[in-house]
Amino acid sequence: MPVDHRRIQGPECSEDYRKPKTLDAALLKKGSRRADGRKCGEQRKIFLKPGVVSQAKGSAYIELDHTKVICSVFDPREKASRNLEQQTVRGEIFCEFKFASFSGVQRRSHQQEADDKEYSLLLKNALEPAVCLHEFPNFQVDVQVLVLQDDGSSLAAAITCAGLALADAAVPMYDLPVGLSKAFSGDTEFFDPTGAEERMCLRGVDGESDHGVFTIGFLPTFNQVSQLFHSGHISSDRFGKMISEVGTLAAEVHKAVQAILLSAVKSSIDSSDNSKLLL
């Protein structure tokens, strides 16, 4: 696609630079309930399914209400880059994150845009500590994520989905990574925000300094944060409080991923005629 480098490509419509005085009333109804009826600390119902893409070695599909993400993991192949300084003892994960053109309200380019590239890097950072990279030296594992519909928390959903896909592809891992996201504005916090909540919190509210969206990649077994991405403004003690809560918030998602994986293994054992496993 030919890109015009001589002109500054501004946005198509303009937004008011002033922050709203209060949070949008549509987001909070009946005082403490959110627009879709959830409580502020409640996660959306998760639908997870591994093994959906037949051409890939491992794959997974996740649905968080209206956020739909599909991930494929391929066999290790020789490292693409020929950089002599690169470590040879470790393998590599090559992540490709892409919002589908039809995923949002506005049509997106079919090629990777700036935020796709940024999310690719964030996803890689989130997954790398979880994978046993020493098991495939000098090779790279391709992880391709496609967001089919974006209604908030797409990066968090992608991290969870990619973790399940890697496990489905029999890539040795230390732990199942789990993605979480939280949007907050002032004192109001939304766990697992929808698109509208995200946009509202990214803008913030006039008078309240703390606002933004947090995305965390978490390894539950070892209680480690693999990746943290925050857009907005936060005070340091609030930040500390956020981090300490991550463990409890991740437990629910982790349990779901584990249960799905266990039942998938069980059903393939029951359906296959593989006598080696029965010994």
């Binding site: 090779f139 029999a170 994986l261």
Partner: protein
């Protein structure tokens, strides 16, 4: 191996047991802070070897194999140059790979004796299938192979007529159609159903004539 239907299924990151002198982390597991964890999603298998229990996890999908030093691989020769030849690894042991890996076979690794007097074009030809051993990884990009053993070398080679040639010595192969002889570094492939007496005969055969 127990024959009960009780199977322990695990997921990555799940604790399997505490590691001790009796219980050792095997394939598909890793040890951390005194415990053995699973690194794959699959069935837990405990193998008893000499009083030590090796805890393994067997996944349903075959783990992607990667050539590691010491493996015997089946490769196809692509390009033959004067000092080395470029190959493509097709199989590792019994496992056929979905993606071929590139490898290099250097002049000094073709034979065990008289390494510098080897002529590459008298040892291999493009299109040959060879058995080789993977050497320890030194180079960043490609694998290094070695055929410096009697059992390694050219296994299948097609003549100009398109017919597989028959080996007649350690250094020559002959086409059954037009009887032309070609020079190759032939592998000593021992058939599985051979008699023990016959095997003794092949052992006493002369080593490749280097003239």
């Amino acid at each position: 191996m127990s024959s009960t239907n009780e199977r322990i299924i695990c997921v990555p990151g799940q604790v399997l047991c505490a590691s001790s002198n009796d219980h050792v982390a095997g394939q598909g597991t890793f040890e951390r802070m005194g415990y053995i964890y699973a690194s794959l999603a699959g069935v837990v298998k405990v193998e008893k070897k000499l009083e030590i229990n090796i805890v393994q996890v067997q996944s349903l999908k075959e783990q992607s194999t990667v050539p590691s030093p010491g493996d015997i691989v089946t490769a196809r020769v692509l390009i033959v140059k004067s000092r080395q030849c470029m190959c493509e690894i097709k199989c590792i042991g019994d496992i056929t790979l979905t993606r071929p890996f590139r490898a290099v076979l250097r002049q000094e690794d073709v034979r065990a004796t008289e390494k510098d007097r080897v002529k590459m074009y008298e040892s291999f030809a493009p299109g040959d299938i060879i058995l080789a051993r993977v050497l320890p990884i030194m180079d960043v990009h490609t694998y290094q192979l070695s055929t410096a053993e009697n059992e390694l070398g050219v296994v299948i080679s097609n003549s100009e007529a398109g017919v597989p040639m028959v080996p007649i010595s350690w250094t020559e192969m002959q086409c059954p159609v037009n009887f032309t002889k070609k020079l190759r570094k032939v592998a000593k492939v021992i058939p599985e159903n051979i008699d023990m007496d016959m095997e003794d005969n092949t052992e006493t055969e002369k080593k490749p004539n280097i003239s």
